[in-house]
Symmetry: C2
Subunit: 225 residues, 2 copies
């Protein structure tokens, strides 16, 4: 599990429970830049802290350096972002088979789009089906070209399907809104699709391109009147 | 000006001032779905309310219908999103020459990505250099292929440049981080570029594709220590 520096208010309510679970199970816990400090503030010590730490005050960085045994400093002017260094640590050094990433959304949209689009780069594409970006209202997953069975996640009534690249023959079958062999030369987002009741999910296929799935929920659920 | 239904907490602090200015200048004020109600709650009546209004309770919709003279109902199952109907109203019916859009970010990421990527569709591409998406920390603008002089916005120290489509020969000159004839078959984001001091901006050019510019600022500015 990795925590990036996005705003705390967007953390899912059960993040603390997840942190405990990660610690008890002995899985790697990675803090990226300000995320390292935020983990310490939650009472958990990341296994590795990664970043240029330019978002930390000197005293805060001291605290990270005092408590975290492995720190990887990135260069402010660099080819790889802090998050990319984290992915390398998780998947290459520790050979994680899956990774949930918190704190990747909210705040500065340039940061969010870097986090969202990183997995399109050739060096990170191998990991794209292994990650989830999670915040309070959304779970983001990725899929390569191919045929996929998409299963629901309890508590998330909506699912958006977003072509992040040019796509060939995107087809959605068995969801509330179908799509048949849709091709596009530019990215396009389809919001607010839904799982049909009493199904185990729906089928998505595409011949070429990368899509992301955005499981989402409203923050304020209204009573029907 | 248009207000979409994104979370109020992400509105820029000076939105009220902008609303007043829009009203005094006699410009169109467009409410999209829940954004229509939010405008009424701020004490301003939109010229048009557009949406399927499925995010409103019956009593809230009554209020919108009572106060707003022109309401355009969209169909829940439809080809165009509520925001796209709004763009049509603004640019075709009212021939706006520019449009600032608030409430397009935050909350559900499928909604945000629909809003961000709408301008790549052939029918909305003509408007892409005429819009700004604004929230508390970000101002998003778009540019077609071509050569552009990018000017700073006071109070926004960072600028991200995001290729939203495949791009050819993206070049950035005169900013803190340069780029020279960079081509990519997939979208890619470059975060945290900066304007150089004592310059009127920098030059961006590309031979093919669409980019967005994300002017951004941190929410908590730290004192240097």
């Amino acid at each position: 599990m990795a925590l990036l520096g996005g705003p705390k208010e967007l953390w899912p309510d059960d993040l603390k429970k997840h942190l405990q679970h990660v610690q008890e199970s002995g899985k790697q816990l990675l803090g990226v830049d300000r995320g390292s400090l935020l983990l310490l503030e939650e009472g958990v010590v990341p296994d590795i802290a990664i970043g240029d730490f330019d978002s930390l005050k000197a005293g805060e960085l001291d605290e990270v350096e005092r408590q975290v045994s492995e720190i990887r400093y990135s260069q402010p002017v660099k080819d790889w972002t802090d998050s990319e260094l984290m992915l390398q640590a998780a998947f290459q050094d520790y050979e994680d088979t899956s990774l949930t990433i918190y704190g990747a959304t909210g705040g500065r949209l340039d940061h969010f789009l870097v986090n969202l689009l990183t997995f399109l780069k050739p060096e990170f594409r191998p990991y794209l089906e292994k990650v989830q970006l999670i915040d309070q209202q959304n779970v983001v997953e990725y899929r390569h070209a191919g045929k996929h069975h998409i299963t629901p996640i309890t508590g998330y009534p909506y699912i958006g399907i977003v072509a992040l690249t040019p796509i060939d023959r995107l087809t959605i079958r068995g969801a509330r809104y179908q799509l048949d062999h849709f091709s596009s030369k530019v990215p396009i987002a389809f919001a607010s699709n839904e799982f049909l009741p009493r199904t185990s999910g729906f089928e998505v296929s595409l011949d070429q391109g990368v899509i992301c799935l955005i499981y989402s929920r409203d923050r304020h659920r209204f009573m029907t009147v």
